[in-house]
C-alpha cells in the first residue's frame, strides 16, 4: 500500500508537470461537447426550394404558400422551366424542386387525386430523406384541407359514417422524447465517447512511453509488484476521467438541458466500472506495443470502432448481423445504452442490470489481461 502511494504521487507529479496533457484532458472534451452537441442533429430548419407551377390555379398556389408557411421550406425561386430548376439543383442553389403539373386542380376536382413532383438533391442522402418527410407531410395535410372545399360531399361525411367508409384514428406517441429533441439523445453519447477517447489514448501511451524513454527498466528492478504498477497507472486517470465526466454532465444539464430522469448515483456507479474498462483497454494496448507510434495507430483503430459502431450516430439495428456482433463487443455501446436508459428513459437498476454486468465482466477481464501481459522483463 505504501509503495502504491509513492507511485501514485509520482504519477500525479508527472501529470501536473505536463500542462498540455491536463488541458487536453479537460478542455478538449468539454469544448467539443459544447460544439458537437449542437451540431449532431437531423432537424433541418429551412431549406431552399424551387417551384415550377404549371397549373397556376388557386389550389396549386395554395400548396406553394403552405410549403413556405411551414417554415421548413423557403421558396428561393420560381419559373415555369424545369430545365432552370434542374440547373439550380445541380449548382446547389436549391436543395429541392416542387413541380405542380397542368390540370392539378382539375384532376383533384374530377378524379379526387392528382400528382405533384418532388425532386431532391440526394447528394447528402440524410438531408434529402428528412426533406422528403417534411414535404410529404405538408402535402398530406394540405390535401386533407382542400378536400373539404373541392369535394365537399365526401369530406363532410365524416360525422355520419358512409356505407363502407372506415377510419382508423392513429394516435402516435413518442415515448421518452416526445419533442424529438436530438440533444437529449446525442449529448450523453458524445460525452461518453469523448471521455473514452482521451482515456484510451492516455492509457495506451502511458506504459509504452516509459518503455521508450527507458524509465520502465528502472521501475522493473524495484520491488514494485505488477498489480501495484498497473494500479498506479490506472488510478490517476480514473479519477480525472470521473471528474471530466461529472463536469461534462453538468454542462449537459446546464447548456443542453438534457433530461436526468433516473438516478445519477446509478450513472456514476456505472461510470466507475466503465472507466476501468476504457483505461484498462488502453493500458493493455500499452503493454503489448513497442512504440508510441504503434500505440497510437491501435488506439485510432479502436476509437473508430467505438465511434462508428456503438450506435451513437447510426442505429445498431440497421447494421448487418456480423457488424451487430462487433457492436456488442464495444464497451462504449453498453455504457451509452445505459446512460440513455437511465437519463432519458428513467430506467432503474433492474432495467440496466445487463449492460452493467457486461461492463463489470469486461473490467475484470481487461485488467487481468493488462496485469498478466505486463511482465517485468525487458523485451
Amino acid at each position: 500500500m505504501r509503495t502504491l502511494r509513492f507511485l501514485l504521487r509520482k504519477e500525479f507529479l508527472q501529470i501536473r508537470r505536463d500542462p498540455a496533457i491536463m488541458r487536453m484532458l479537460v478542455a478538449m472534451p468539454l469544448v467539443q461537447l459544447l460544439l458537437l452537441g449542437n451540431a449532431a442533429t437531423f432537424e433541418i430548419r429551412s431549406s431552399r426550394m424551387y417551384v415550377v407551377d404549371e397549373d397556376h390555379s388557386p389550389t396549386s398556389r395554395g400548396l406553394v404558400t403552405r410549403m413556405a408557411a411551414s417554415g421548413r421550406f423557403e421558396i428561393a425561386d420560381a419559373s415555369p422551366s424545369m430545365a432552370l430548376a434542374n440547373r439550380a439543383l445541380l449548382d446547389r442553389d436549391v436543395s429541392s424542386i416542387l413541380r405542380v403539373p397542368h390540370d392539378f386542380e382539375a384532376d383533384l376536382v374530377r378524379v379526387g387525386a392528382a400528382p405533384v413532383q418532388l425532386v431532391f438533391n440526394a447528394e447528402d442522402g440524410a438531408a434529402a430523406g428528412i426533406r422528403r418527410t417534411y414535404a410529404t407531410r405538408i402535402i398530406a395535410a394540405y390535401a386533407a384541407e382542400v378536400g373539404e372545399e373541392l369535394r365537399p360531399t365526401i369530406a363532410t361525411a365524416t360525422g355520419a359514417p358512409m356505407r363502407g367508409a372506415a377510419r382508423i384514428d392513429v394516435r402516435a406517441r413518442g415515448w421518452f422524447n416526445p419533442e424529438l429533441d436530438y440533444q437529449a439523445y446525442m449529448v450523453p453519447g458524445i460525452l461518453v465517447l469523448l471521455v473514452t477517447m482521451v482515456a484510451t489514448a492516455l492509457g495506451s501511451m502511458n506504459i509504452v512511453r516509459e518503455k521508450e524513454l527507458g524509465t520502465l527498466e528502472q521501475l522493473n528492478v524495484t520491488p514494485v509488484t505488477r498489480a501495484e504498477f498497473i494500479a498506479s497507472k490506472l488510478i490517476p486517470f480514473w479519477l480525472i476521467g470521473l471528474g471530466v465526466l461529472a463536469f461534462g454532465l453538468t454542462i449537459a444539464r446546464l447548456a443542453f438541458n438534457i433530461p436526468m430522469r433516473g438516478s445519477l448515483a446509478l450513472v456514476f456507479l456505472a461510470a466507475l466500472i466503465y472507466l476501468l474498462v476504457a483505461l484498462g483497454i488502453g493500458l493493455w494496448i500499452s503493454t503489448i506495443v513497442e512504440t508510441q507510434q504503434q500505440a497510437m495507430f491501435v488506439t485510432f483503430a479502436i476509437n473508430m470502432v467505438y465511434m462508428l459502431m456503438s450506435g451513437l450516430f447510426t442505429p445498431i439495428l440497421s447494421m448487418p448481423r456480423w457488424a451487430q456482433w462487433i457492436a456488442q463487443l464495444s464497451p462504449v455501446k453498453h455504457f451509452i445504452v445505459l446512460m440513455r436508459a437511465v437519463l432519458v428513459k428513467g430506467a432503474g437498476f433492474s432495467a440496466v442490470q445487463l449492460p452493467l454486468a457486461v461492463l463489470a465482466v469486461y473490467a475484470a477481464v481487461v485488467l487481468t489481461l493488462a496485469v498478466r501481459q505486463y511482465s517485468k522483463r525487458t523485451a
Binding site: 451540431a39 405533384v116 440524410a126 434529402a128 392513429v170 406517441r173 508510441q292 445487463l354
Partner: protein, 369 residues
C-alpha cells in the same frame, strides 16, 4: 538540392525499414473503409414491435399480419394490457408498440372508426420518427384497402418523389465518400505529426535544424514520402468504393485523384502544424486524434447535414478540411460534375493547404531564432 535529395532518401529509408508500421499504414485505411462502409447504414429494419391486443378479433389479427408481412417489423410480444410496455422500453427490448382499443374490429365495422395507439421509443428522434412513419403507412394502406372494399373514394395529392444523384438513397453512396475523407484526414495528419514530433522528442530535429537544409526543405522532405504513402491509400480506398461498394464514379476519375492529392497535402500539413505546436509525441498524437476525429465526423457533413446545425455553428464547419473534400468527392462521384462546378471548393482547399504550409514553415523559423 542534393542535400535535399539525400534527406528525402533518408526519410524513405526510415519508413521502409519499419515494415510493421508500413503495413499498418497501408492496410488500416482500407480495412476501415471496408468495415465501416458496410456497418454504417440508416435504413431501418427489424423494428421490435409489441402488440397490445386486449380482445383479438378478425380485424386486429389482419392488421397484425400486415405489420409482420412488411418485413420491417418483428413482433416480439403480444400483451393484453399496456402495463408491460414501460419496462420493456426501458430495458431496450422493444422499439415500438401498437395498442388496439378493446372491440377494435367491432367499432371499425359498425361505427366506421376505431382507435389505434402507436407508441414509439423516440429516444433516438431520427429512428423514432421514421418508425412512426412506417407504422402509420401500414395502417393507412390497410385503411385504404378496407375503404376500397366499401367503394369509398378519397382526395389525395400523390407526391412523386425523385432523389437526384442517389435515387435509392443507398447507404454506401451516402457514407463512403465521407468515410474516405475521415480516414484520409486522420491517417495523413497522424503520419506527419508523428514523424516530426518523434524527431523532436529524440532531439534529432535539432541536428536537422542546424544543417544547411532550409525549414521548408525539412518539411517538404518529411512530407514527401508520406505523400506517396497517402496517395497509395487514396488508390486503395477509392478502389474499395468502386469495386466493393459500387459507388458510381460519374465524373472524371482523374480529377478525383487530383483533388485527393490536394486533400492529402492539406492534411499532411495539418499534421506538421500540430507537431510544431506540441512538445511531445504523446500530446501531438492525442491532439491530432482528439482534435480531428469527432470534429471531422460531426462537423464535416459526413453524417449530420450541415444545414441542420445552428446558424452560429455553420461557419465553423468551413474550417474542417474534410467538409470540402466530401463536397468535392460527392460532386464528382454522385453528380458527375467537374471543375466548372467545383472550383470554389477546390480553391478553398488549396487556400487551406497554403495557409497550413506557411504556418508550418513559420513555426520552424521561430524555433531557429
Amino acid at each position: 538540392m542534393s542535400a535535399m535529395g539525400g534527406f528525402v532518401v533518408k526519410e524513405f529509408h526510415h519508413i521502409l525499414r519499419d515494415r510493421q508500421t508500413l503495413l499498418i499504414l497501408l492496410l488500416l485505411p482500407l480495412a476501415q473503409v471496408l468495415l465501416f462502409g458496410f456497418a454504417l447504414r440508416t435504413d431501418i429494419r427489424g423494428v421490435r414491435l409489441v402488440v397490445v391486443d386486449p380482445a383479438p378479433d378478425a380485424s386486429t389479427l389482419e392488421l397484425r399480419g400486415r405489420f409482420a408481412a412488411t418485413g420491417l417489423f418483428r413482433i416480439v410480444g403480444v400483451e393484453a394490457t399496456p402495463a408491460a410496455l414501460a419496462p420493456r422500453f426501458q430495458a431496450g427490448s422493444a422499439d415500438q408498440a401498437v395498442v388496439f382499443e378493446p372491440g377494435f374490429g367491432e367499432k371499425l365495422a359498425h361505427e366506421g372508426r376505431a382507435q389505434l395507439l402507436v407508441i414509439t421509443d423516440a429516444t433516438d428522434p431520427n429512428t423514432g420518427s421514421a418508425m412512426q412513419a412506417y407504422a402509420a403507412a401500414v395502417v393507412q394502406r390497410y385503411e385504404q384497402e378496407i375503404g376500397a372494399r366499401g367503394g369509398r373514394q378519397g382526395v389525395r395529392i400523390v407526391p412523386e418523389v425523385r432523389m437526384r444523384f442517389n435515387p435509392t438513397l443507398e447507404s454506401a453512396n451516402l457514407f463512403v465518400p465521407g468515410l474516405i475523407a475521415l480516414v484520409l484526414t486522420i491517417v495523413s495528419a497522424l503520419m506527419s505529426a508523428i514523424s516530426l514530433s518523434r524527431e523532436k522528442e529524440r532531439g534529432t530535429l535539432e541536428v536537422l535544424l542546424v544543417s544547411p537544409l532550409k525549414p521548408w526543405e525539412i518539411i517538404a522532405g518529411k512530407v514527401l514520402p508520406y505523400l506517396v504513402l497517402g496517395f497509395a491509400n487514396v488508390l486503395t480506398v477509392l478502389g474499395a468504393a468502386w469495386f466493393v461498394f459500387r459507388v458510381p464514379f460519374r465524373g472524371s476519375v482523374l480529377l478525383l485523384l487530383g483533388e485527393s492529392l490536394l486533400f492529402i497535402v492539406t492534411c499532411l500539413s495539418l499534421g506538421v502544424v500540430i507537431a510544431a505546436v506540441t512538445s511531445s509525441q504523446r500530446t501531438a498524437m492525442i491532439g491530432a486524434l482528439m482534435g480531428l476525429m469527432m470534429p471531422t465526423t460531426v462537423l464535416g457533413g459526413m453524417i449530420f447535414p450541415i444545414e441542420s446545425m445552428p446558424g452560429w455553428l455553420q461557419p465553423l464547419t468551413n474550417a474542417v478540411p474534410g467538409k470540402w473534400f466530401i463536397l468535392i468527392s460527392r460532386g464528382i462521384m454522385l453528380k458527375g460534375v467537374g471543375l466548372a462546378e467545383l472550383w470554389q471548393e477546390t480553391l478553398i482547399l488549396a487556400g487551406m493547404m497554403v495557409v497550413l504550409l506557411v504556418a508550418a514553415v513559420k513555426t520552424f523559423r521561430i524555433r531557429l531564432g
